[in-house]
Amino acid sequence: MRKILSLFAVLASIVVLAACSSDRVLVVGLEAAYAPFNWSTPTKTEFTHELDGQPGVYVDGFDVQMAKEIAKQLDRRLVIKAIDWEGLIPALNSNQIDLIIAGMSPTEERKENVAFSEEYYRSEVVMVVHAQSDYLDATKLSDFSGVRAVAQTGTIYDDLIDQIPSVIHQESLATYSALATAVTSRSADVLVAELPVAQSLVALNNQLRMVRLTDGGFDTLEEDVTVAIALRKSDTTLLDEVNAVLATISIETRNAWMASALERQDA
């Protein structure tokens, strides 16, 4: 009798384990400080997801919607971790996370260390200036000759700064809050960033204005104006799966998600 019971117990646990393993986890890393792509909030809504290891803190944003859709289609349990911008690729390569969905551009440099999916959003490089600055009506790069320009550490925007004629290229800063302070305190004249992020900064701070370079902007590569999802080079299966999901999300959907994220972030 005892032998039959223990055999039954073993079989049952095997079945349970098999069932559990189909409940696979997908760990996504993002900065949680890059609105409207990703930001943190204390309020739980249908758009948010809880932040791993931080009870009471949720993340929202375009990247979060993307992460949720991918996890849903791949039938995996979504876990989102907040990691500093510079720590994202190291975290990916040391297997702490499986995907980076953080408004990251697929540059040649980064491709040396990670693999990228197809683009999941296409953007534009713009300038953020002080509401009382002389640059509100500027339309081209040469209008910004001689400015003090700044961007986030380790981003393509920091590299683009040198295209501004006679620019004073200030040391990069680590976070967008620091960058916004640099402009509002008039210690920098221009912050170079991408459109949705600029829109979100301007919406939150009435001392800032966005300027689009309609008449002659930065010389950029494709990779500079798109964002893609980063994966470990060895994860070829996952790469195919992610690209398959992205193919199902139309440009209209993407733009709608971004607009909706901008709106929510304004609240």
């Binding site: 302070t181 640099a182 210690s187």
Partner: protein
């Protein structure tokens, strides 16, 4: 594997590390030397004696204000993180200078950083020197006063020189602290060793090896200083007490 990356990274990015190292050393040297000089007048104020019989009412009032101000100064600058002081000062002054003069282009992070580290260090050195002055045998002051030296002359000729000499090892330690703490000034955009390392990390996507190199660099700097401080101490005291 780690060793090849270390030499690899050093050969490719040595200019980053060198630049960062220079800024770190600059901040520590100016901060400690400037902090010491700035501390001296405050020390003079803090060691003032109020003579209720002989001082005039005006003079007593001025002395009390001076002592009060010095206490607020040391409490504030020792009681708040240097990072916070740097942010308030750099960004705050940036706005003020722009609004008042219209041109704040000359107001660079390194200027604000040097000022902040000098003021911050001075607050600590004031307390170090005050302790050193109090530790001087009261007999020194009594002998000086009985010869006819005023309290002020006695302090400057006899007490302060001895106190400063006694405080040198502690001030050397402040320098070591500054070598490391200068890294918080990177938050306002100063290219110190810590920020330099960050740049190497973002360029190489290797977040461990550059920091190992930096740790070795900081350790080298602090060890050299610690050795010099030790030499200074033994020169004055002639050896440790452990042999007694």
């Amino acid at each position: 594997m780690i060793l090849t990356s270390i030499s690899d990274i050093i050969s490719k990015y040595h200019s980053f590390f060198t630049r960062g190292l220079l800024y770190t050393i600059l901040l520590a040297v100016l901060g400690t030397a400037g902090g010491f000089l700035l501390a001296l007048p405050f020390l003079g104020i803090k060691t003032t004696k109020i003579d209720p019989i002989r001082d005039s009412k005006v003079s007593i009032f001025i002395k009390k204000v001076g002592i009060g101000f010095t206490n607020v100064y040391t409490t504030f600058f020792r009681g708040t993180p240097m990072m916070v002081q740097a942010m308030i000062f750099y960004y705050g002054m940036s706005l003020v200078i722009h609004n008042v003069t219209g041109n704040n282009y000359w107001w660079k992070p390194i200027i604000a950083g040097i000022i902040v580290i000098i003021i911050n260090t001075s607050a600590y050195i004031i307390e170090i020197l005050r302790g050193a002055v109090n530790a001087i045998d009261p007999g020194q002051m009594e002998a000086a006063r009985s010869l006819g030296f005023s309290r002020k002359k006695a302090l400057y000729l006899i007490i302060y020189p001895q106190a400063i000499k006694n405080a040198l090892p502690s001030i050397g330690n402040e320098f070591i602290v500054n070598l490391k703490d200068s890294s918080v000034l990177s938050v306002i955009g100063i290219f110190d060793l810590f920020k330099a390392t960050g740049s190497v990390v973002s360029t190489t996507a290797d977040s461990v090896t550059p920091y190992i190199i930096t740790a070795i660099l900081y350790l080298t700097l602090t060890s050299i200083t610690a050795l010099l401080v030790k030499k200074l101490e033994s020169k004055r005291h002639g050896g440790e007490m452990k042999n007694v």
